[in-house]
Subunit: 535 residues, 2 copies
């Protein structure tokens, strides 16, 4: 046991930081640094640092600390401050005082480590502890692929956001003040797992406008429509279960189904949506647990499943008894042509689980989406939701309900449609102006995305880098694909960049495409693409 009777110290003083450095024979043994401009009380700063040094073994059992008076003097603080710090450390059994012996560091006494031998602790091998679900999601985050997408100096066609224009912010504050005055802090408390009843009534009304007749008991409010996919997967999918998706499809949906261990079977799409005959031909060999589809303004392809295929898909679901998850975030965002009924509106037998969200119309940060389904299915969602996050944030639900009941929601929807229609027009114009042969695209009738086919000789990976150099980003096709089909595509969102940058962005992108094509021509070597055995 080392008992030290006197410690030398140096004072530290620098930019509002003071402290002391204690040394024995020239080597530092204890260092306390105080930041007087921090909001953390000084006594806690002292306590925490001494605690850490003891727990890390820097200060060994038997080490004698400076007396309270002396430490206070050295650090230039009140004696009571040090007293408080030492009191806490004593309460934790980290230090002890005995008349004559001063204040010393105590042994760590535990039921296991009775012999006072310092225990050798190895780092926990976290990656080896991961469960199957986590192991299946060890893919790069989309945010990693698009690390520059949020930089201020790039023009981004990557994300399905809305440009931040004309957000009904004034209306938000007005609504909140009024509601808080009338209902007090109830709108800030815990609330129902199924969702705030008045909001479910308002959603029921909104659904009626989309041709879906459902009462509030058949609706659950979720933390965004992403949660609808996640909970559907958790409720229905076991490892090995088959899930049918469109290819290409929403990357988060693919990730979710992968993480629960589903066998994902993609069905290709054409201009009329999912190829139903292809699907039907599969069903003689596989028995899917779920069909996931975005029938209207599909992400990423922008296609709309036509009415005949909608009916045919339902007939298949009925015949083979397969539930359908219909994801409909974009349905209301139509800029030309006529609305088609949702699958849920056509479904008279309760096979469709319908998911939608407010996030593509306003306030995506509020995270409010919902699901419409048979009551017994909603009951399962309530059970799963209770475990996942208890309920959706209450404040956001009250505000959305208020907006749906007043005219704010529908006015905002009209604004978004008008704004997006204009952005889409600018995008079409720019794509025509800077057209490149073999760069193919078609304007979608609604939604947020152009799905463009790259010239065949381009290496899609190379284009990402080239475009980033030119400070323009987009979503590469591969994140939407499972690798079954050609991924020579890119997704361009026209809703997120400011209108005045669309033309410039397309110009830069097309330059990047041209330059990548030219480079490819130069370095072209056919052997490089052949697959050779690795020995």
């Amino acid at each position: 046991m080392v008992v030290l009777n006197s410690l030398k110290h140096d004072n530290i003083k620098l930019d509002g930081i003071t402290g002391a450095c204690y040394k024995i024979k020239g080597s530092v043994i204890m260092r306390i640094i105080l930041n007087k401009s921090s909001s953390i009380p000084i006594y806690l700063q002292i306590r925490n640092q001494i605690r850490d040094m003891i727990l890390q073994g820097i200060l060994e059992p038997g080490f004698r600390l400076p007396s309270e008076r002396k430490l206070a003097e050295t650090l230039g603080v009140n004696r009571s401050t040090v007293l408080n710090a030492y009191r806490d450390l004593k309460a934790d059994d980290l230090i002890g005082s005995h008349t004559g012996a001063g204040t010393t560091v105590l042994m760590a006494q535990t039921s296991i480590n009775k012999d006072n031998m310092p225990q050798k602790v190895s780092k926990l091998p976290w990656m080896q502890l991961l469960g199957g679900c986590a192991l299946r999601m060890q893919q790069p985050l989309v945010s990693d692929i698009l690390k520059t997408a949020n930089r201020k100096d790039v023009i981004s066609f990557a994300a399905g956001f809305l440009a931040q224009t004309h957000d009904p912010v004034e209306e938000l504050l007005e609504s909140q003040c009024r509601l808080l005055k009338d209902y007090g802090s109830t709108m800030l408390q815990y609330s129902s797992t199924q969702g705030y009843l008045p909001l479910r009534e308002s959603i029921s009304n909104l659904m009626q406008k989309r041709g879906i007749t459902i009462d509030p008991e058949g609706i659950i409010v979720l933390s965004g429509s992403q949660q609808a996919i996640d909970l559907t997967a958790r409720i229905f999918i076991d490892p090995g279960d088959v899930v049918i998706v469109e290819e290409p499809s929403f990357f988060s949906a693919l990730q979710i189904f992968q993480s629960v261990g589903a066998r994902i079977v993609p069905v290709p799409i054409d201009a009329k949506g999912m190829k139903i005959e292809f699907l039907e031909s599969l069903l003689s060999r596989i028995k899917p647990k779920l069909i996931y589809t975005i029938p209207t303004f599909q992400n990423p392809s922008g296609t709309v499943m036509d009415i005949k295929r909608r009916r045919a898909l339902l007939d298949i679901a009925y015949k083979y008894q397969i539930p359908i998850l219909e994801d409909d975030p974009y349905g209301e965002l139509r800029y030309e042509g006529n609305h088609l009924p949702t699958l849920k509106a056509l479904d008279q037998h309760g096979y469709v689980i319908y998911a939608s969200t407010f996030s593509k119309i306003m306030f995506p940060g509020m995270r409010i989406g919902w699901v419409v389904a048979e009551r017994e299915v909603i009951r399962q969602f309530v059970l799963a939701k209770q475990m996942a996050d208890l309920h959706t944030n209450t404040l956001g639900q009250w505000i959305m309900d208020d907006f749906l009941r007043s005219n704010v929601f529908h006015k905002r929807l009209q604004t978004v449609i008008n704004e997006n229609r204009e952005s889409r027009r600018l995008m079409i114009e720019a794509l025509k102006q800077y057209a490149i042969e073999d760069f193919e695209w078609q304007a979608p009738e609604g939604g947020l995305y152009f799905w463009c086919r790259l010239p065949r000789q381009i290496d899609p990976e190379r284009l990402i880098t080239k475009a980033e150099e030119k400070k323009v980003v987009y979503a590469p096709g591969k994140i939407f694909c499972l690798g079954y089909t050609d991924n020579h595509y890119i997704r361009l969102s026209f809703s997120s960049p400011p209108k005045e940058l669309i033309k410039q962005g397309i110009k830069l992108l097309m330059q990047a495409v041209k330059e990548t094509m030219n480079e490819e021509k130069m370095k072209h070597s056919p052997e490089a693409s052949e697959i050779m055995p690795i020995l």
Copy 2:
């Protein structure tokens, strides 16, 4: 094919509802009801009802609809309204017009159903489609057990809520107005999956006050601390993995671990928290994947794990390489005695995943909690969080950050502590005044709960009913237990009922206890409790 040339109709008129009922030979064949005070446009009301009748087979293929002019006349609406409805129905291929033949219902034509035979569709057997995760959570919801807990006319000791007093509502509005003025609608947009960086900085500061040194990269913001348990389970637990919990423990945690298929092994607690020697004796036989603990003001028992056991638990974790999930929602709510360091503060090797929340201090409806852990663990949480709900609601994060940086948070914390201390005093007083022999309780030093032992002869189920009759509710012990230990307990929350009702509530509860005891004495029959084979 039935073609009807003329339809008789009756008009309907009642309280703002108008409509028409079409009959053939006295039996109703088509009914359209219009609600002119509804926010749904009249043309959509017409379209939806006709669509539903066609899809449900009420109107068969070939059925001839009234002409647009005639229907408009009958319903008392503009001709253009009916025109719009019919146009939509035509776009959906549900009806068609041919000169001479009028407007008729079309066949449903699909790729499968080519022979026009009406398909017999069976109801989907949803319960048979549930996956393992959903099947394992088919327990009654706690809200079902406590169905009367939210009724206005009962005194509820059931929920761990705060009484709605002195909520900083004015400060909320002030903060929001100021932030929106300075930062615009950014606080309403999508935001980082790991959480708003300034909030993570503020939480890092708060953690320093709790003795935990962590930079913002080691923190993830979640939708409440419930999500911390859920994501931990999803990241680490596979079916069959062993999870150690205290018995009794937080019911939602038990449900979550059950739903992912964990084998939950409970360790009993005494007045000093989890019995560490019991745990150690288990470890020669089982290899847990995780230890879940609420060391401070445990839910439901209110106990605090003492410092020796905290150290011993960490030593066990180090020795056997088991991660610990430390759930700390109540740590700051201490009404007497000294604060003890959290496990995370004592842990120098990154074995502890620490979870906490703002919900027990203010605005639980905002759903904001967080996790502190090693960076590689945080990375896994980010991956899982991205799938679960993309990110936590942005508005709430900005407000909490503002409150942590200003004095609002700490003032509010002090208010809550003072309020709860007073409620706790009233509860102690009432429990003493209405004391019953063998009804045992101890006042907790902090947190929200009294964990009371019922007299042995009471049937806990019977007491629930009896108490509900007297309009007082509480959380029954069984929901916190796995059935290994005695569940003759009830949990009383002193923070949620209004102060002035605490005494009355305890009085009623004690009457219920007495009456249940008396009834038990009368009907006591020892054989009833014996287990007999069922043949």
